[in-house]
């Protein structure tokens, strides 16, 4: 009896992959990565120290790659539910462009390299925070919370809120109240942002079996929660000015932007139950993206002016 009786392999076994570099870049979630890079950069600029510019660029790169690695690991684990949602069905794994093992290896490899690079080029506190962020996003959020509780994005939002803290730590080697305020702004912003999306993507999340707030607690409860969080977002936005590490001018800009957030959320709150068009929810989702970019851009400009002036 021959040990190997079959001379031919079936299907795609043993075939070369057709994945291109572009597919692997898509695994890094470039749009999320750009927000991570931006907020981490703002954390660096606001930190009370002047870094070597090249080391600062390397630190930003390491944070970006670490965030991308977390995205790749998220896509590896979530391939089954991504295939069921219109929003995510085009990702490389559901489309069969990248094999699960390739995505897992890619994510683990980049996670290790990004943390090591940040540790060696900046400091090990920043590297530990990056490692914790990747762990929190992949294990706590993706593997545990996402499929088990409607509070998934509330708690999981901590991962997305950490980049400015990592940026600050990369420059100063410390975590301070100021960096935690930057964390708080993104942490409080995450629930209304994703719940606005979940309101008009209820069908998608239901098909995938993800217990998002509108699917579990209903539209009315979600709209009230969105409004409550919007008020907290607006209040947290002006904290940098109140605590004295941003100017009054920034405070005024943040108040206006926060007022806009509350205004859009008010329209969501007043939206009729059963409104299928979900216009106010879509408008809030779009505004929330503008808000986060604008508030950090305002902090960046304010920080740069105070550096030049001071």
């Amino acid at each position: 009896m021959a040990l190997v009786e079959r001379k031919h392999v079936d299907g795609d076994v043993g075939r070369l992959s057709e994945a291109t570099a572009g597919d692997f870049i898509a695994l890094l979630k470039p749009r999320v990565m750009s927000l991570v890079v931006f907020t981490a950069f703002v954390g660096m600029v606001l930190a009370p120290a002047t870094p070597n510019p090249l080391l600062a660029v390397i630190a930003i790169l390491a944070i970006a790659v670490g965030a991308g690695a977390a995205g790749a690991l998220n896509m590896w684990y979530d391939a089954d539910i991504d295939a069921k949602m219109a929003r995510t069905a085009g990702r490389p794994l559901p489309r069969g462009r990248v094999a699960p093992g390739e995505a897992l290896g890619f994510g683990l490899f980049l996670s290790a390299f990004s943390v090591m690079t940040l540790g060696l080029m900046a400091n090990w506190l920043a590297a530990s925070l990056l490692a914790f962020t990747i762990f929190f996003y992949v294990v706590i959020y993706t593997m545990w919370l996402k499929r088990s509780t409607p509070q998934n994005i509330v708690i999981g939002g901590a991962a997305g809120a950490l980049p400015p803290v990592i940026g600050w730590a990369a420059i100063t080697g410390s975590v301070t109240l100021e960096s935690l305020v930057l964390f708080l702004i993104i942490f409080l912003w995450t629930p209304p942002h994703f719940w606005a999306l979940a309101l008009f993507k209820t069908g998608d999340y239901a098909r995938a079996g993800i217990p998002m707030m509108p699917n579990v607690a209903g539209e009315g409860h979600t709209k009230r929660q969105i409004f409550a969080y919007a008020v907290l977002v607006a209040a947290s936005g002006v904290l940098p000015s109140v605590l004295g590490f941003a100017s009054m001018a920034y405070g005024a800009v943040a108040a206006v932007l926060g007022g806009g957030f509350v205004w859009y959320s008010w329209h969501v709150l007043r939206m009729a139950d059963g409104d299928r068009a979900m216009g106010p929810a879509k408008a809030l989702f779009a505004y929330s993206l503008v808000y986060l970019f604008a508030i950090f851009a305002a902090l960046l400009v304010d920080g740069m002016i105070s550096r030049v002036g001071g």
């Binding site: 075939r15 070369l16 057709e18 291109t20 570099a21 390397i58 790169l61 060696l120």
Partner: protein, 52 residues
């Protein structure tokens, strides 16, 4: 083993492999440059400060 028993890569697979190989080469080259320049910046002049 006769040649026809082996898996023959298609044009598309070969093109994708070449694309990946170039990307890996570029990423590794960038990583080497980053580590080299980063080490120079981090260690500064003391990098060359050693007993002969």
């Amino acid at each position: 083993m006769p040649d026809d028993d082996r898996i023959k890569p298609t044009e598309k697979e070969l093109k994708a492999r070449r694309n990946r190989s170039i990307a890996i080469a570029l990423a590794l080259a960038a990583f080497v440059i980053i580590v080299y320049l980063g080490s120079l910046m981090k260690l500064g002049p003391s990098l060359f400060d050693r007993a002969m």
